[in-house]
Amino acid sequence: MQMKWLKALLCVVVLGTFTACSDDDNNKFSVDPDPLISNAGTYILNTGGWGANNASLQHYSFSDSTISSDLFAAQNGYGMGDLAEDMVEYGSKIYVTLNNSAKVEVLDRSGKVIQTIYPTNDAGEAVKPCYLEAYAGAVYFTNYGGMVSRIDTTSLTITGSVVVGDHPEGLAAANGKLYANISGYGSGTKVAVIDVTSFTKTKELDVLLNPYTQSIAADDGYVYFISSGNYAGSPSLTEAQYIYSTLQRIDPSTDVVTSIANASLIANRGTKMYCIYSEYYLPARYSIFELDLVTGAKKELTEIMQKVPSASTIDVNPSNGDIYVANTSYAAPNTMYVFNSDGTFKTSFQCGYYTAGAFFAKR
């Protein structure tokens, strides 16, 4: 009799061991009351994986070459959200677009939230914000509602929106105008021109296929942007049909568009453009080079190419010309490599997931 119940008890014990596996909820973030932001540094924005809710913001300090942890999480106690596309530092505030979380976070320089803006369209539906440009006292951003919207920097609310086209991406401002890349989800061939004062779309410029994320108001006064083309080298295209990824330039006084060179990602300092050129189907064309905007001369940065075989971002420090390049990574967080302005290796540090780039304060 005793044996029988002993054996029945064994069953219960076996059952019970499984319940020992459960853990209590643990709060992964602890608020850090002492922000460690030195003035000399740059912000690293990490987009995160789609649906992974792991976008993050870090600060890299020049003086001691240290990279911070996730500032947003440390300052606010929770994760920033999903798919941080772009950020801009303006006045004393940082504006970050979270594309999949459909919001713009306005933060102070330590990463603490001042205001969260949830953009909507006329029907009151949430729209996904993409790329930012700060200009003449306001912050503008493109969004997947097909619009460019304006944020007032004192009220921190959206004070106007103008419809520009399908899937607008990169945005740059010059000469009282905003230039928005109308990607058309890969089929677009226009850049929309918006007059800042009236905040209306005045015209569309014809450009090469798929003007995408890159758009810069450069130091030389021109607006430079990239059309990604049609995935040249794709097996479903003949060579005559290839449209390569091309850097183009708009003269903001005449609105004339000129093609400059083949490139995919760009960063500007003075009269130099630092470029990554990568065609998905044509890996032999991969190149990282410095382009002289005056002479058109290309200088290939071979040491960078060796160290970063699959570059995903390029940025340049406006003060000293240091070049920041991040490498794509499969599961682990990205690594940011820092090179001197002559292309020689300086240092590297680990960032977050799917780094968007290094964002320097405008001088």
Binding site: L10, T19, S22, N53, D82, N100, G145, Y231, P235, S264
Partner: protein, 679 residues
């Protein structure tokens, strides 16, 4: 749970078994050991002639789960009812060595992965013929209702049953689903009606009608409807922020129907015909995205297939079976967004033909020859669709030999695949030979202990998505290869107070090479063969039945799986030697059921240990362990030919919105009532 637990558990298990006496002598009770697959039988004592008292033979035929030379697990209808399972995935979670990737809710995607190999390595067969999806390569278990499923079998490695279609030799593991086959032959009929009602607006009525037309022809017809609102509440933490929300756009409506014809053409010839229809429309709630709960994507699935099965048992030594199947699948993905609406249609067909010849020329030796031909094609409305077509030929030569208390099986599969596309380049033609071996041994004559060892070399072809999907696809992908080694022991029998006790333990080592994963490049991802995985694991199964008091019975089943699957792709990577994504090191299930004359009470636990959502391990990729407890109560009523069964289930008693897949929370505590009436 640690390795200490594992050691203690297996020690306890085998400690118990060692206490069990060997089978009793022939002059007392009929020894259960006599009914196993011995070639040499025990000699009866002839020295004494005595009259035997009437004995109740309560022996049970030894389950093939124990005698099989490769790991085999079976669940029958009674087992599934004890687990309170509503869907196929609920029942399958009770197998050892299995991870079900569950995206939550009734309409959520559920796929089965065996020993961390992934869903595309598990074949799913429905009444003998494989269910396939050439586009994704995985089967969504949520489309099967358990109403007319009578048996589920999971076979890991190559099953020693060599009388199968060639396709059943072509996967690392196989889940076989068998539906109820009518056994009437006297012109009678029976009708079964079931109604299931549950939380979140779930209502599921179904009808199952069986009729014997004459002593040669039976038909069965099944029809069911399922609807659910599915918008269950959940909570989730984002640091100090608590997300307290409801799933949104989670409704589902499904129609299923099936018609089967069973014909006995002669004493030796059988013919079975099946027509199947599945039509479902559901909302896709998507993953939880911080600050954005918008979800409006709709998925419509229509699947029709017809299959024919013919068998001719020429003699005791020769038999042939043949199948033919045509499958049509249509899917519509409708997604309204503020950036515009996308409406994509997908259409796949599969045509399948198979023949297997089996022979038993001399005692103990049997062999089989199987040939399968498969044609798949895909259309979708993407502008980049290449309209791929795939022609596959599978040929198998298998042999099995039994001598003394050994059984040896081996098979060789030859695969030939060619593809064509209307646009662009097709994947190159591929051929490969895949061997498998297994050895079974019953070391003691008077004990039901079986030892087993097996090896299987098999692969999975890249799916149409892997090869041809817009941009991401890579036509030069090679098949993903696996090699499995398994060593195990199984035992069953009576033991002391246990009317039935069965235990098995298997240790395994797997290697995966050319694993297909998506690698990011500057703007886009690309499918590549760059993964390598090494897995070491163990699966334990225990089941027991104890009669208590007069007519009470206690049933217990428990499983425990240990799986250490490490990413050994690149020594330089930060992911090197880490446990791969979504694979817990420890997991297990437990089910205790007390059958009393007036009520049956069951208690089930599913436990999954900690895991990481990628092979990069950090606090932000860590997923904690969880347990899912449930209770079921049921009662059968019977008078004359009518029977009524009532069952109430309370699921996820802990009310935790645990996540199997990150950001897809599971429903909290929910309830189900099942009424089944048969007349």
């Amino acid at each position: 749970m640690s390795q200490v637990h594992l050691a203690l558990l297996s020690g306890a298990l085998f400690g118990m078994l060692l206490q069990c006496p060997p089978s009793v002598k022939a002059t007392e009770n009929v020894p259960y050991g006599m009914f196993s697959s011995d070639s040499i039988f025990e000699k009866r004592s002839e020295t004494k002639v005595s009259e035997l008292n009437n004995v109740d033979v309560t022996a049970r035929k030894v389950s093939p789960d124990v005698t099989s030379s490769t790991p085999l697990q079976t669940l029958d209808k009674a087992d599934m009812q004890r687990f309170g399972a509503l869907e196929l995935s609920d029942a399958v979670k009770h197998f050892s060595g299995v991870q079900v990737k569950d995206y939550g809710g009734i309409g959520g995607l559920k796929t089965i992965s065996v020993r961390s190999l992934g869903a595309q390595h598990t074949a799913v067969s429905y009444d003998g013929v494989a269910i396939g999806d050439c586009q994704s390569g995985q089967v969504d278990l949520s489309r099967f209702s358990l109403d007319q499923i009578s048996k589920l079998t999971l076979s890991i490695g190559q099953s020693e049953d060599i009388y199968q279609t060639a396709r059943m030799f072509a996967s690392a593991a196989a889940l076989n689903i068998e539906t109820e086959a009518p056994s009437l032959n006297d012109g009678s009929s029976s009708l079964q009606t079931t109604l299931k009602v549950g939380s979140f607006g779930m209502v599921a009525p179904s009808l199952f009608y069986v009729r014997s037309l004459n002593n040669r022809l039976n038909i069965s017809a099944y029809a069911s409807y399922l609807r659910a609102d599915g918008n269950y509440p959940f909570t989730m933490r984002n640091g100090i922020k608590l997300i307290d929300d409801k799933r949104n756009n989670s409704d589902i409506e499904t129609y299923r129907s099936e018609l089967n014809l069973f014909a006995k053409l002669s004493l030796r010839q059988d013919l079975k015909l099946k027509a199947y229809l599945f039509d479902s429309e559901r909302g896709l709630p998507g993953s939880v995205v911080y600050d954005n709960s918008y979800a409006a994507e709709r998925l419509t699935d229509r699947n029709y297939f017809g299959q024919l099965h013919y068998e001719n048992r020429f003699s005791k030594k020769w038999k042939l079976k043949s199948s033919a199947k045509f499958n049509y699948s249509w899917q519509r993905d409708y997604s309204p967004q503020t950036s515009g609406t996308t409406d994509t249609h997908f259409r796949q067909t599969e045509s399948y033909l198979s023949a297997t010849l089996w022979g038993n020329p001399i005692k103990g030796l049997s062999f089989s020859l199987a040939q399968d031909l498969i044609y798949n094609n895909l259309h979708n409305t993407f502008t980049s669709c290449q309209f791929p077509q795939r022609y596959t030929s599978l040929s198998v030569l298998a042999a099995s030999y039994e001598f003394y208390r050994f059984s040896v099986s081996s098979s060789l599969l030859h695969t030939l695949v060619t593809e064509e596309v209307k646009v662009g380049t097709a994947s190159p033609r591929r051929t490969r030979f895949s061997p498998a071996f297994s050895l079974g041994w019953k070391p003691f004559v008077d004990s039901n202990l079986h030892l087993r060892a097996s090896y299987k070399d098999i692969f999975r072809l890249p799916t149409f998505n892997d090869l041809y999907y817009t941009l991401v696809g890579n036509v030069n992908l090679k098949p993903e290869k696996t090699r499995q080694w398994n060593l195990g022991a199984a035992w069953s029998g009576r033991c002391g107070v246990f009317d039935y006790l069965s235990a098995s333990i298997d240790g395994y080592f797997n290697r995966v090479d050319d694993k297909i994963i998506a690698i990011p490049t500057t703007f886009v991802w690309k499918m590549s063969n760059i993964g390598k995985v090494k897995t070491l694991g163990a699966d334990l199964n225990l089941s027991a039945e104890v009669p208590v008091y007069d007519n009470w019975r206690i049933f217990f089943t428990g499983t425990y799986s240990f799986c250490s699957a490490r990413d050994v792709t690149d020594r330089e990577e930060l992911t090197y030697d880490n446990q791969i994504a979504y694979t817990p090191k420890h997991s297990g299930t437990s089910s205790l059921s007390v059958q009393m004359p007036w009520l049956t009470l069951g208690y089930n636990v599913l436990a999954t240990g900690e895991r990481y959502l990628s092979s990069y391990h950090a606090s932000d990729t860590y997923l904690k362990s969880y347990t899912d407890h449930s209770i079921t109560l049921s009662r059968n009523f019977q008078w004359k030919t009518h029977s009524l069964r009532l069952q109430v289930d309370a699921l996820n008693l802990g009310n935790k919105n645990y996540e199997v897949i990150r950001f897809y929370p599971m429903p909290g505590r929910n309830y189900k009532l099942t009424i089944n009436y048969k007349f």
